[in-house]
């Protein structure tokens, strides 16, 4: 039951921040196991020891279970530690401490029923202006034809390329309903809310090609809203960019939108 780096617990992680999330998940599961086994031992012991049998009467005197108080305090303390020492720092790093745009690769992703449109700034490094009113079958994200910055932009469908070992900022937006941009292998997930642009960032540590899932129900073909993210070497990434004729509309078929 393994395919493409998937295992019984957590799938392959190719991001630089993912190990912190994984560590937290493992720590939590150890805590859970300890608690569960602790309860389980008392539970099992009681089931065996305190059955009804002739001559045995329940002991109604309330036992003083200091242990329970300690257990409860222990849980509280452990939770506080997990929260403050593990969860908060990761969260702050992932959500707040963005790398500077200058040293990162910036990509726009525009979600729609049922595809992921990638948008790269092209050679000039500036994104062309977009407006919903320009959206047409050959202009999926509504690039403004009058904006010179847009002429060299690269548009992709269900296919993202990012360089390895370089921070990547993804600006997420949606044309229609809520989607959720999820790349399990990168430990990335962010809802894509129409009417908002939400940036996220990550840095990939390994080469490869992985799934982009839509993690939020977005309509009947939600399940097919799958994209691929390619993590390339710098050279390969540059090569790929060059191979995309600037301003060319991506060749798409109905299939890409699963309509």
């Amino acid at each position: 039951m393994m395919a493409g780096g998937y295992s019984l617990w957590l799938p392959v992680d190719v991001s630089k921040h993912g190990f912190e999330i994984d560590r937290l998940i493992y720590a939590l599961h150890i805590l859970m196991a300890v608690l569960f086994v602790g309860w389980g031992i008392v539970f099992a012991y009681c089931l065996v020891r305190f059955r009804q049998r002739p001559g045995h009467r329940a002991d109604a005197v309330v036992i003083k279970a200091k242990a329970s108080k300690y257990a409860e305090i222990g849980v509280a303390v452990f939770e506080a530690v997990l929260l403050l020492a593990f969860a908060v720092p990761v969260l702050a790093r992932v959500k707040n401490q963005f790398p500077s745009e200058a040293e990162s690769e910036v990509v726009r992703v525009v979600a729609e029923q049922f595809a992921w449109n990638g948008h790269y700034a092209g050679a000039d490094g500036v994104f062309g202006r977009t407006d919903p009113k320009f959206i047409a079958p050959d202009n999926l994200i509504g690039l403004d034809p009058n904006d010179p910055h847009g002429t060299d932009d690269i548009i992709t469908v269900n296919e993202l390329h990012v360089p390895v070992n370089k921070p990547v900022i993804v600006r997420l937006s949606s044309k229609d309903v809520i989607h959720s941009f999820a790349v399990p292998a990168l430990r990335v997930k962010q809802d894509v809310i129409p009417g908002m642009t939400i940036p996220i960032w990550f840095e990939a540590a390994r080469l490869g090609e992985f799934d982009i899932q839509c993690a939020q129900l977005c309509g009947n073909n939600h399940f097919k809203m799958r994209g691929r993210i390619h993590i390339d070497t710098d050279a390969a990434f540059a090569e790929w960019k060059k191979s995309k004729a600037p301003g060319e509309a991506p060749k798409v078929s109905e299939e890409d939108f699963q309509l």
Partner: protein, 593 residues
């Protein structure tokens, strides 16, 4: 005065007034007696439970064998729900998924634990002749039934039933077919809950028997009391949200619709979707979860109450830490209003807000730990009587523990990044509601059946029911946790589309077979339920040697419940009191006895 009162609205009060000389349909159909209404709720909700489960069994076929034609049922389902080859269609999957969630939560479990058990047991346990407002009680049931029928009918209407998940997130829900009827059904169900909750609170506060102070209340009554407050205060915001979404759908307002949407290549507003924009999709989520988080405590608190009753009764000793349990659930009730946004960590809210909701979530886990620990410690020094209800109540404890513990990684935003909206979530809350609440419901049925019918259910069938159910529940839901860890998204019609899905497809297969065998394992229960009503062993009024007041009434209790007025002299669970020969001391027995 009373005679006059009665005469003044003859024709309304009859049901309550003369339960004995009424025609059948007034006595058993349009009754205002809390016991009849309780039974009506129970039966209706059990039917919906089976229905909701059947929808899921069909979905489980698609998950185990993606794309394969459905055997048998494939030819019964309408064209929208199945593909040409009679396999379940994506639309069908989404419709069934949304309606499974809706039916299970709003039409099956809450009506069972509150409308069914609460209605039947609470007035008896507090020594009252009925609920405070019997006609309101009946209105609550009929409103519930209407809501249920509207939901059910929506399957056969143009556009079909709702298909945007039980969460109905906008904008999807605003533009999807079937949603209007869903919202109308919800308004009826919310009305029903509101009427019910007012009734419960008034009843518990005003109608307790003499001597029954708050700290002598059975834990079950406490659980219902807190639950009623949650329903009373959490449902109205959902009603508000439903009204706003209805306006969006019917009147074309844009409360949840932002500017600049492009649907199917058309920029809004269009003829069909006249939304001018400006609204906020997240507003819906806030309103929804403000209800729906307290709602999950509505699903679990009464279940804890049932388990506490059964545990005290069958360990033959008082509950350990009764008072701390009561304080815990009161605290839990308060806290449940300030944790809702832990369902929204991935919507892009700021870290400060995330931190706040993560902290409240960690805090709210403590009272659950207190209740669970108290119930487990209650086993210490017991003289356990392993009857069917006790088996189910015991099984509840570890199952609820798994459900509660798996909530922790979902409550911390950092780990939630990986787990949010995956099968891990599905596994987590099903451990709480399926082998958790549903098992508590079974325990309650076995426990109070003799009170309702005067007969016991079969112990043998009870065991044949219990063991396979326990095993199947774990076979179904444990795999989901592993699937979720792999990153498999929930609401995924064809899991094979994704690498993660392919990696864990084997588990889907296991899980589905678990679900189908679970269905078979319910047959002994269904037989037991009906057969025992006519052929079960006749038992005394207090077959379990229990202490709480409901057992002081005849089985089944007559109209008005008690033959003579009851007074309370002691705590609820005085089992095996030192120095007395009997191992139980009913609450209503005067001390001189």
């Amino acid at each position: 005065m009373s005679a006059a009162t009665h005469g003044s609205h003859a024709g309304h009060d009859h049901g309550a007034a003369h339960g004995h000389d009424l025609p059948f349909w007034r006595k058993y159909v349009f009754s205002v007696d809390h016991k009849v209404i309780g039974v009506q709720y129970t039966i209706t909700a059990l039917v919906f439970l089976l229905f909701g489960f059947s929808l899921m069994m069909i979905m489980r076929y698609q998950l185990a064998y993606p794309g394969r034609p459905l055997p048998i049922v494939g030819s019964w389902l309408g064209p929208g729900l199945v593909n040409a080859d009679r396999s379940l269609s994506p639309d069908g999957y989404n419709v069934f998924g949304a309606m499974h969630g809706t039916i299970m939560v709003f039409l099956a479990v809450v009506p069972l634990v509150v409308g069914g058990f609460g209605n039947y047991v609470v007035p008896l346990q507090i020594g009252a002749p009925d609920m405070a407002f019997p006609r309101l009680n009946a209105a609550s049931y009929w409103s519930y039934l209407s809501g249920g029928l509207v939901m059910f009918a929506s399957f056969f209407m143009k556009g079909g039933a709702a298909q945007s998940g039980w969460t109905s997130y906008a904008p999807l829900a605003v533009i999807s077919p079937g949603q209007t009827v869903w919202l109308l059904g919800m308004v009826l169900l919310i009305t029903s809950s509101l009427l019910g909750s007012v009734n419960f609170i008034v009843t518990i506060v005003q109608l307790r028997a003499p001597g029954l102070s708050f700290f002598r209340l059975p834990f079950f009554v406490w659980a219902q009391f807190v639950t009623a407050f949650l329903l009373l205060l959490a449902f109205p915001p959902l009603e508000a949200a439903a009204i706003l979404q209805l306006m969006d759908r019917i009147a074309g307002t844009s409360f949840f619709m932002p500017t600049g949407l492009v649907v199917s290549g058309q920029i809004l507003p269009t003829e069909a979707l006249p939304h001018t924009g400006g609204g906020s999709p997240l507003l819906w989520q806030h309103l929804f979860w403000f209800l729906a988080h307290p709602e999950v405590y509505v699903l679990i608190l009464p279940a804890m109450g049932i388990v506490a009753e059964v545990v005290a009764n069958n360990t033959r000793k008082p509950l350990w830490g009764y008072r701390s349990m009561v304080y815990a659930i009161i605290f839990l009730g308060f806290m449940s209003f300030i944790v809702w946004a832990h369902h929204m960590f991935m919507t892009g809210m700021g870290t400060k807000l995330s931190l706040f909701f993560a902290t409240t979530t960690m805090i709210i886990s403590i009272p659950s730990v207190v209740v669970l620990t108290a119930l487990i410690l209650s086993l210490w020094g017991a003289a356990m009587r392993f009857n069917s209800q006790f088996l189910f109540a015991l099984a509840f404890l570890p199952m609820f523990a798994i459900g509660g513990l798996t909530g922790l990684p979902l409550g911390l935003p950092a780990s939630d990044i990986h787990l949010h909206d995956t099968y891990y979530v599905i596994g987590h809350f099903h451990y709480v509601v399926a082998p958790g609440t549903i098992f508590a419901i079974f325990a309650g049925v076995y426990h109070w059946y003799p009170k309702v019918t005067g007969r016991k259910m079969s112990e043998l069938l009870g065991r044949v029911h219990f063991w396979p159910s326990l095993i199947c529940m774990n076979v179904i839901f444990l795999p989901m946790l592993f699937q979720g860890l792999q990153g498999l998204s929930r609401r995924t019609y064809d899991p094979l589309v994704y690498d993660a899905g392919q990696a864990v497809q084997g588990w889907h297969f296991v899980s589905s077979w678990g679900a189908w065998i679970l269905a078979i394992a319910q047959i002994p229960f269904i037989i037991n339920f009906f057969w025992s009503a006519v052929a079960g062993k006749k038992v005394s009024d207090n077959p379990w040697d229990a202490t709480t007041l409901e057992w002081a009434a005849p089985s089944p209790p007559p109209h008005g419940n008690f033959l003579k007025s009851v007074s309370v002299y002691r705590d609820p669970y005085v089992y095996s009191p030192p120095g007395r020969p009997s191992d139980f001391w009913p609450q209503n027995q005067p001390p001189e006895d």
